[in-house]
């Protein structure tokens, strides 16, 4: 158990070191998140939409979380594509210890860049879709702490699911498109929970309903991580 934890941390540290060195993961994830915000921003911010304050919260929530879900998929795919370059993946799988630890390590390595991207995407999205304005116009302050919690839980859930599918698609052709396509349906509960929590937070600040959604999200995160750790060995072994 302690050995597995050490392995997970070793893998994560390595991935973070490489990510800091080449920065390509960060770039790719930011690129995809940026496209989503850009297109949706232009499509929805003209005409009727921008004039209707009630719409700003659901639209901002939807756009932000679609962007982050995609960014998670891209980040996870990178994490495994990197391994595969130069045959390192086969070498990684040949180390002793449970393969589940490798999944956890990969997940821990994927998370920090994603959280970084999220830290930019969320405020940008709120401004772009006029949600932050609508909130301050209503005389409230933006609930930053609650938003940050939602974001962290949401990104963790996205990363957990996409990292798992990343291990499956890495050896397949067409993996770039396949990974998001496979992972998204599974992400639907997480998208739903994050979108609703964000929307409610924007519309009225903290409420017990938000708490319910966040509890659900936490359960989703834990469930996904446990299940993925259990199934990962079967997905990758020789």
């Amino acid at each position: 158990m302690k050995g597995a934890l050490r392995q997970a941390l070793t893998v994560a540290a390595k991935d973070l070191r490489v990510a800091g060195r080449t920065r390509d993961t960060l770039l790719a994830t930011a690129f995809f998140a940026g496209i989503v915000l850009l297109v949706l921003g232009f499509a929805l911010s003209g005409g009727v939409v921008s004039r209707d304050a009630r719409l700003s919260a659901p639209l901002a929530a939807g756009a932000i979380w679609t962007a982050l879900a995609l960014a998670a998929a891209v980040g996870a795919q990178r994490a495994f594509a990197q391994e595969q370059e130069a045959g390192a993946l086969e070498q990684l799988l040949a180390y002793p210890g449970p393969h589940g630890a490798l999944y956890l390590g990969k997940l821990l390595g994927v998370l920090p860049p994603l959280l970084l991207v999220a830290a930019v995407t969320v405020p940008t999205g709120l401004v772009l879709f006029g949600a932050s304005e609508a909130v301050t116009a209503a005389g409230r302050a933006l609930p930053w702490a609650a938003l940050a919690l939602t974001t962290t839980l949401g990104v963790l859930g996205f990363a957990a699911a996409t990292t798992f599918y990343g291990s499956i698609t890495v050896n397949l052709r067409a993996r770039e498109a396949l990974l998001p396509a496979l992972a998204f349906p599974i992400l639907v509960p997480a998208v739903l929970a994050t979108v609703q929590a964000t929307r409610l937070l924007l519309e009225g600040g903290w409420s017990p309903e938000v708490g319910t959604w966040l509890t659900f999200l936490t359960a989703f995160d834990l469930g996904t991580i446990i299940l993925a750790t259990l199934l990962f060995p079967a997905a990758v072994e020789g």
Binding site: R21, T22, A94, P96
Partner: protein, 220 residues
Amino acid sequence: MKESDPGAAFAVQLRDVWLRLGREVILRGVTLDVPAGQGVTLLGENGAGKTTLLRLLSAGLRPTRGEGRVLGFDLRDSRAVRDAIHLMPVDGGLYPDLTAAENLAFALRMHARAGDVPGTLRRVGLEGAATRRARFLSAGMRKRLALARAHLLARPVTLVDEPFANLDDAGRALVQELLLELRGQGCSLLIAAHEPALAQVVAPRTLRLAGGLLREEVPA
């Protein structure tokens, strides 16, 4: 973590192993016994299946039919096998964006072992490239780095795929020296190579893979 099964008299045992990859049948009934501590040179034409056989032994591939054991552990018990074995692949299997020293340190930490990274780098002549990324090493330097890793890890069963390719004369002598040291520590070696003369110095017993079958080769 067990270092090895101390009761195991055999490093490797294969019984009528068949292996199919895609639509090709690569191994067609391979049977092999390697006593613990022995050194074996594996010869065979290009495409004979040497690399495939080594991957099978390192639990990277599963036999389609037949059985195998490494240090007494069933090949299907991948965790135990991976604990006992190390495969040095042809292309090194290094992380291109980690430096030479980081690559070694990573391998050691994954095995929960300590080791003298700078010292080993010096032995393989890479002290000047310790902080260079593996991506920017020359072909021979990458091979030396992979060799340094195998030597540091010193697993009880060490599989080596084409250790002499891409190396200069000094590098080849170095491979022999380091592999002999490993044998001196009691490791069993399986070396796939196209240079029988060089490999047999380290691993005298010689086998030839042809047509998916393994035959003993008597030195001329």
